[in-house]
């Protein structure tokens, strides 16, 4: 129980830390990062969004919105999540992904909760906000699959986004359950077996926001490192969609090395408001998972 909380909290805090750390270098290439920062490893904010040190972006904020919606009703309801995302959007967040915005706009226009399938929905926006679903359904694999697809399809309806999000969820379930990196590796291998496009050796071709590139990058750095800090530093310094790859890497590494494994210096830079809401959501979602246990 204790271990599970430490790993779940590690996943969610790790996600926020990766978001804030990577945001400084989002959209820069590895070469540009090396030129400007040497090795980027400090919470200094800035970046293309002009952030304060430790400030999170849409990646973490969407997670919090999804978590709020789940906790309000005690279950996933697509309409409730849509309303929560609209509320977040209307609060003028620091960034909103292009495809996420299209989904929110569609919902505001006609109330529909499902995006039509599109070849252009291969971005990582839906994959990024799935952590609350994962934590709320630790005891119910069927609900995990159903809720994941339900929330993804609000904005992104693409088989690689679906498959990648499910696989990352399986990995987090297995890590939080204490099965260690080998359990996570098995889940990653299953994804690659079904969709070889996700193969990440010798190394990812790119670290863009395309869900395949994002997940290849996260697999590469997570399986190639042995601590939270080394995983995140390797991830964000590859550049590209660095806040998103950073967040997902932080999620996996946090679930592995627990909240204790996150460097204090990074954690301290997150706003108290964000940390408090994450902690309260983790407890609420785990409690929900227990009531849903099959």
């Amino acid at each position: 129980r204790e271990g599970r909380r430490a790993r779940a909290l590690g996943a969610y805090l790790g996600f926020a830390v990766g978001d804030a750390l990577g945001a400084t270098v989002e959209f820069l290439s590895a070469e540009e990062i090396a030129e400007s920062y040497g090795v980027h490893r400090r919470m200094i904010g800035g970046g293309w969004l002009g952030l304060k040190p430790g400030q999170v972006t849409d990646d973490t904020e969407m997670c919090l919105a999804v978590g709020r919606a789940i906790l309000a009703l005690g279950r996933f309801d697509p309409c409730s999540m849509a309303e929560e995302l609209v509320r977040w959007y209307r609060g003028r967040p620091v960034d909103v992904g292009a495809t996420c915005l299209q989904g929110i706009r569609r919902y505001l226009t006609d109330g529909s909760l499902d995006a039509l399938p599109s070849r252009w929905h291969g971005g990582n926006g839906a994959c990024l906000r799935n952590l609350p679903v994962i934590l709320a359904t630790l005891g119910d694999e069927e609900a995990f699959g159903r809720w994941t697809i339900g929330q993804c399809h609000f904005t992104h309806n693409h088989r690689f986004s679906d498959a990648g999000t499910l696989a990352l969820g399986e990995m987090v379930r297995s890590l939080v359950g204490g099965e260690g990196i080998s359990g996570a590796r098995a889940a990653a291998d299953r994804l690659i077996a079904r969709h070889p496009v996700f193969a990440f050796d010798p190394h990812p071709a790119s670290s863009s926001g395309y869900v395949v590139d994002t997940i290849q990058t996260v697999f590469f750095t997570f399986f190639g490192s042995d601590s939270f800090a080394s995983c995140l530093i390797a991830t964000v310094n590859r550049g590209g969609d660095a806040d998103s790859t950073g967040a997902l890497a932080g999620m996996l590494a946090g679930a592995t090395y627990t909240a204790e494994g996150i460097p204090r210096g990074w954690l301290r830079k997150l706003s108290a408001k964000v940390v408090n809401e994450i902690e309260s959501q983790v407890d609420g979602l785990l409690a929900l998972a227990d009531t849903r246990k099959r």
Partner: protein
């Protein structure tokens, strides 16, 4: 796809932008233009004599959007831009056959 061109009073730009953002429209292109219409320009003194500037500064907003959103968008613009005094401006809706996001090559409803 359609393009809305709205010619409005300059001080109304912020309000119109807000109203469009509320309904999920966050991207637009804006130009400073001169308007000639029923609203009369003002009188200026230049080198001692008075003359009428017969145009008025206006702002032209261009937003490309899906056809289904046009009624909501025009309603939002009207509500935000209207003062009830002459010169409030016009909205024109124009067909757009194709849209492309230069950065990614995304097309049409995925371009905006």
């Amino acid at each position: 796809l359609c393009k809305i061109e709205a010619v409005i009073k300059p001080f109304k730009l912020e309000e119109v932008k807000e109203a469009l953002t509320e309904i999920g429209i966050a991207g637009l292109t804006v130009a400073e233009v001169k308007g000639f219409g029923r609203q009369k320009g003002h009188t200026e003194i230049y080198r001692g004599s008075e003359y009428t500037v017969d145009f008025l500064p206006k702002v032209k907003i261009e937003v490309v959007l899906e056809e289904e959103l046009v009624p909501k968008a025009t309603e939002a613009i009207i509500k935000a831009a209207r003062t009830g005094k002459i010169g409030d401006g016009k909205i024109f809706v124009i067909p757009v056959t194709e849209a492309i996001r230069i950065r990614t090559g995304e097309r049409n409803e995925h371009a905006i």
